[in-house]
Amino acid sequence: MVKKIPIGPYHPVLEEPEFFELHVEGERVVGIDITIGWSHRGIELLSEHKTWDQVPFLVERVCGICSCSHPFAYVKAVEDCAGIEVPLRAQYIRLIVAELERLHSHLLWTGLAGHFIGYNTVFMWAWKYREPVLDILEAVTGNRNHYAMLRVGGVRRDLPESEVPMVLERLDELEKNNELLTKAIVDDPVIHARTKGVGVFDRKMCRLYGALGPTARAGGYDVDARRDHPIDAYDKVDFDVILCENGDVFDKAVVRQLENFEAIKIIRQCLKQMEPGEIATEVHEIPPGEGLGIYEAPRGEVLHYIRSDGGNMPLRHKIRAPSFNNILTNEVSVVGETVADAGLITAAVDPCYSCTERVGIVDRGDGGRWVASEGDLIRMSQERTEKIRKELQGNRRNG
């Protein structure tokens, strides 16, 4: 008998509210229904009523975590349309802010994933290590989030030389901590048991569903817009694209953790290669035409398209965010898993929604309904971890 478990649309943690309906048979998930669009604010239309220079402030509020990625893609689209050259120093500053954003986003995810499987220590650690990144961002851009750093033609603020030693010091600290965290995740037998082989989304499926970012790279699908369509100084820095092959939750965590090291590497190179100079070119008008901007956000490739009629506002502005593709991958990766794992798997693509505030189980057969509190999914997940931990300890004692 198939039962339906509606999850959402609210959850105290992340991202826009989403609504998932799990179809379950006993413990097994046999299907999933996804509804998104709860926080539809009509940003594209709003942006068509703002001037070219106001739009970055709007698009950085598309998503609070990607508040550099969206403006980045947008300014690239406008620069593409108008053929604007960006000064080299501005290019490097853009990269630094963008990669700092990747660091904070990935650490945030690691923490939440730890929380879902009942490792609150990982949650607290990861968020503690994330604070120095926000400190750097505050020192460099003036705000912890929503940096308002990018503008058409360059950046708004220079990176003062006096901040560089502090940034480097914090990065060293972070690298050490990230290593610790990565080791803790990779070596932990309970995390292995909970995440390996769970929610597999392999390469073939990634292709089929157009998965992006770490979700795709964990499955061995080699896409990375930073390398495939290098914008700004990305072709002047050296970094690796992290690939795994199994596409399970474990690999998704590993990809993100290892990408943190690459991000640190990129920031260090930028700081080293940067030379004093202009930080923005004056832009007087955007000629009629169209432009496309692609950037690899922490969650995958984000795409902005703009069309101009030569006026002071975009005629059309189209945004495609990576989560749109990635959310759909749940359709495959959740099916066949247990309900206790479902929360973790859907969280692994990083619109984590598993802290849904309300879970109700609808019994299709007799129409009965059980409404449970939001914590249930997490609790089930945490209980499962506890069980595995006990089993492992038992094995060790017996063996």
């Binding site: 649309p9 609210y10 105290p12 943690v13 992340l14 991202e15 826009e16 509210p17 669009g37 709860w38 926080s39 539809h40 604010r41 009509g42 940003i43 239309l45 709003l46 009523h49 402030f57 709007l58 509020r61 598309v62 998503c63 609070g64 975590i65 508040s67 945030l108 923490g111 949650f123 607290m124 968020w127 503690k128 604070e131 912890r144 989030n145 929503h146 802290c355 505030e357 309300r358 509190s373 939001e374 914590g375």
Partner: protein
């Protein structure tokens, strides 16, 4: 001061709703609970169900889809409940004011007790807002 208020003041439990926020406010709320700021040491706890909550913390400019839900949440909440509007969006719809899908701000639909402006408010500001709210009880 009633007994309920006295108890509420010692350990306010918070239920958090996102009504179409860009989720940065939500992240800053979470940030308040993690080691650097650690609001939990004051007894402030994020709870998963509105029925356990003393404070309803609302972020976002209230989209059309969310309005019935936030109204229902307010009705379901055990009274007395304190409503806090967080962020520029929660207070005055912020940058999304003119959006066609926005029917906020929040105080048009449910009574609000405290406003914490900022985009997003820093964790320090959130803590100050909560402390001020507790001070008025």
């Amino acid at each position: 001061m009633s007994l309920a208020m006295k108890a509420l003041k010692k350990s306010p439990w918070v239920f958090h709703v996102n009504t179409g926020a860009c989720n940065n406010c939500d992240i800053e709320i979470l940030d308040c609970l993690t080691p650097r700021f650690d609001l939990e040491r004051f007894g402030i706890l994020l709870v998963g169900s509105i029925r356990h909550a003393d404070v309803l913390l609302v972020t976002g400019p209230v989209t059309r889809n969310c309005l019935p839900r936030i109204k229902r949440l307010y009705e379901q909440a055990p009274k007395p409940i304190k409503v806090v509007a967080l962020g520029a969006c929660g207070c005055r719809c912020g940058i999304f004011k003119d959006g066609y899908n926005i029917i906020g701000p929040l105080d048009k639909h449910i009574p609000v007790d405290a406003y914490i402006p900022g985009c997003p408010p820093k964790p320090e500001a959130i803590i100050m807002g909560v402390v001020k709210l507790l001070g008025t009880l």
